[in-house]
């Protein structure tokens, strides 16, 4: 039994966890849910020993755990699998597994032995192992997640913690994954599933703990609750329905003025075909959703549209005067913002804004600062002012800033890649509103995401990208009555099951 009593943890001025109690029993799948920012990741990092709690004790079967040591937590049998796979990409998969439980106590680096130990485990779980000697960087995202889980299981953990594991799995793989969790539960282990997807949590969990703003909002038996109640507990007073009613997926008809045309674009890079004869058009006023699991060419497409890459064949045409495509990158902290710089300078990163506030090579500082202030107010971005650093903003506010910056440049076409990943519901609602207003004013949006709910809620038209190919859905599938079937169809397309 994993017990946590009165766990408290601060980061600078923020109280991330406030006297949190938690309890998970053996042979149980325990879902830990909450908005982003609620403290879920912080809590499991404390369990796994990567962080130290400021106060409170975590104990396993009555034995208190040494704090702040991932190594000791591992020894005690607590293993965590994180959101982005923590594999060593340049090393081969056997080497990665050898660094797990398979290679322990062996001084010679015997890779074949490690692979052999992994085989039966993989077979039991229905995983296919990559060819011998393949470096992880050449494995697909799905394979990496599986390898990571294998490595975690190689430690024979008593507690397995999974942090948002399904984000990179195709909908078809989801079923097998949940089956795996049930099997682990059957073996008497404790499985802690951290997720913000209520449907998945309800599908598989025995107990649910809801975190809100660093406190335990509730603990329930899964059998005694439903998604609606969980959603209420997660958010608090404001009720947001668990499944958003989708915007009408009506076609625009003949008033469509093309804003962006992608004509037979193929892109080869790193020795493989990343994009394969893409051909689609974005019209003004449209929000076109591009659904797909990470790693199917979205990144390359975004780089192409941002002008960072040239297509191997085919072309991209922006059919509007000005011809501006603005991209909101997926990784806002690494690609989108410079955390050490003040907010107004972060705004200046965007070419259109920089041009606007540059005269003959000189920056118009006061103008830019004032403009930043206006933007912060208009988009309700909570900050310590235009001169404060981007690092001082919370994740949600950083994304609001990134979107505001993109819109402030008055583009014709906006490409948003995973624009709401990691945002709390309020920030997400804000961003969605900003995008809708932009489209209503005549802009065109390409919304690239793996979140079907978001895509269904926002898109006027849906495309699916899989293995570098873009597939459109036939028009008659877009009626709102058949959302459920539609989602399934999209899911299948995303996993490449149907053509």
């Amino acid at each position: 039994m994993l017990e946590a009593a009165a766990i408290t943890r601060r980061f600078a001025r923020t109280l991330a966890l406030d006297r949190v109690d938690f309890c998970a029993r053996p042979g149980e799948i325990h879902a830990l849910i909450g908005e982003n920012g609620a403290g879920k990741s912080t809590l499991i990092n404390i369990f796994a020993g990567r962080l130290k709690a400021d106060a409170g004790v975590v104990s396993l079967d009555g034995e208190p755990l040494a704090a702040g040591s991932a190594h000791l937590a591992l020894k005690a049998g607590i293993v965590a699998v994180y959101q982005s796979p923590m594999l060593f990409e340049r090393l081969s998969w056997e080497e990665n597994l050898a660094l797990g439980g398979f290679g322990a106590g062996v001084s010679r680096n015997d890779l074949a032995a490690a692979a052999q130990c992994a085989q039966p485990l993989a077979a039991r779980l229905g995983f296919d192992l990559p060819p011998p000697g393949t470096p992880v960087e050449r494995c697909s995202i799905g394979e990496r997640v599986r390898l990571e889980i294998l490595r975690a299981l190689s430690f024979d953990p008593r507690v397995l913690i999974l942090d948002e594991p399904t984000g990179v799995l195709a909908p078809a793989e989801l079923g097998a994954f949940l089956e795996l969790l049930r099997r682990l539960r059957g073996e008497g282990r404790i499985v802690i599933l951290v997720t913000h997807k209520l449907a998945e949590a309800m599908a598989v969990a025995d107990r649910v703990t809801v975190l809100r703003r660093g406190r335990v909002a509730a603990e329930r038996l899964a059998a005694n609750t439903d998604e609606a109640e969980l959603a209420r507990l997660m958010i608090g007073e404001i009720t947001v329905p668990a499944s958003t009613s989708a915007a009408p997926l009506a076609a625009l008809g003949d008033r469509a003025t093309p804003a962006l045309t992608v004509e037979q674009v193929t892109l080869d890079c790193d020795g493989r075909r990343a994009l394969d004869r893409l051909d689609f058009t974005l019209s003004m006023g449209e929000i076109v959703g591009l659904a797909g699991v990470d790693g199917n060419g979205q990144r390359e497409l975004v780089e192409l549209l941002a002008g960072r890459r040239a297509p191997t064949s085919g072309r991209v045409r922006v059919r509007a005067h000005g011809g501006a495509i603005t991209v909101i990158p997926q990784d806002r902290d690494l690609d989108g913002l410079i955390l050490d710089m003040p907010l107004w300078e972060n705004l200046m990163l965007a070419r259109p804004l920089r041009d606007r506030f540059t005269r003959r090579g000189w920056l118009q500082r006061s103008g830019a600062v004032a403009f930043c202030g206006e933007l912060l107010e208009r988009f309700r971005i909570r900050s310590a002012g235009a001169a404060s650093t981007a690092a001082s903003l919370s994740g949600g506010n950083r994304q609001r800033l990134a979107v505001a910056r993109a819109l402030a440049g008055a583009p014709q076409v906006l490409v948003a890649h995973d624009v709401c990943r990691g945002l709390d519901l309020r920030a997400m609602a804000d961003v969605h509103r900003m995008l809708r207003e932009f489209a209503a004013a005549g802009g065109a949006v390409l919304l690239i995401s793996s979140d079907l709910d978001e895509l269904l809620a926002l898109s006027t038209r849906l495309l699916v990208i899989c293995r570098g190919r873009v597939l459109a859905l036939p028009a008659d599938d877009c009626g709102s009555e058949r959302i459920g079937l539609l989602a399934e169809r999209i899911g299948l397309l995303m996993s490449g099951a149907a053509s």
Partner: protein, 303 residues
Amino acid sequence: MLEAFLASTIAMATPILLAALGELIVERSGVLNIGIEGAMLAGAFFGLTATWFSGSLALGLLASCAAAVAFNALLAVLAVNLAVNQVVAGTAIDILALGLTGVFYRRFFGLTGSAFTITPMRTIALGPLARIPLIGTALFDQSALVYLAFALVPSIAFVISHTRYGLELRAAGERPEAADALGLGVYRLRWQALMIAGVLSGLAGAFLTLTYTNTFIEGISAGRGYVALSVVIVGRWNAWGVAAASLLFGAAMALQFGLQAVGTAVPYQFFLALPYVLTIVVLAFMGGQADAPSALGSPYLRS
């Protein structure tokens, strides 16, 4: 003639090879140690000083290693524990070493320092092997440090790619957060790498003052530490490549003496500059960072 050139090449290559092997281990663990030059210089000076005062070469070697290890420890505190910018820290070490050795040297030996010589280490001829015509003396009648250096090449190659320790080291250099999460202990691994490299840099420095040059000149390392950095890059971060590249640069340095002796119209400065120019040229064609350990040079702070 050829024999002398070959012997010279191997002798010149040895300090570079020793330092580069140490740096290889360090860089595989993820740290970029620009301070090799300083460590080598410290090793050279303090090794000579210890030998001069005690009369014992063994003590001198020990002192070399100790001095270089001390400087590497300083870098370890800065680069590993405090996660500062590794380039700046390494450069500071170089400046510090230059200053410290200079100050101590002048304080104790004055500006001429002509009395600061010792009986150098003798070469060890490997029996019948040394009598092979043409290459015998060049390859098999060298100082013990030379044999050590070249013997280390296959050993280090093996340890890095075929032992668990080597795997852990490489993991620390690829993705320290992941390595720590697995309980491998990145700080420990990097410290160990720096300590091993300290011993090797110390030996490299000792080679400069305790073997063929039996005295100390300020700045005697003359950029060999930086050449060692290039050797690691050109050698694509593996021990065999490092050995080959060291020989290449050793040859360039040996060329100085060879061609000067022959007497050409080319000014001697050209030969002095040759190894440095060669370094740049070779890096320009082979300097890609594609094979570098992924986390090389990135400050890493364990939370």
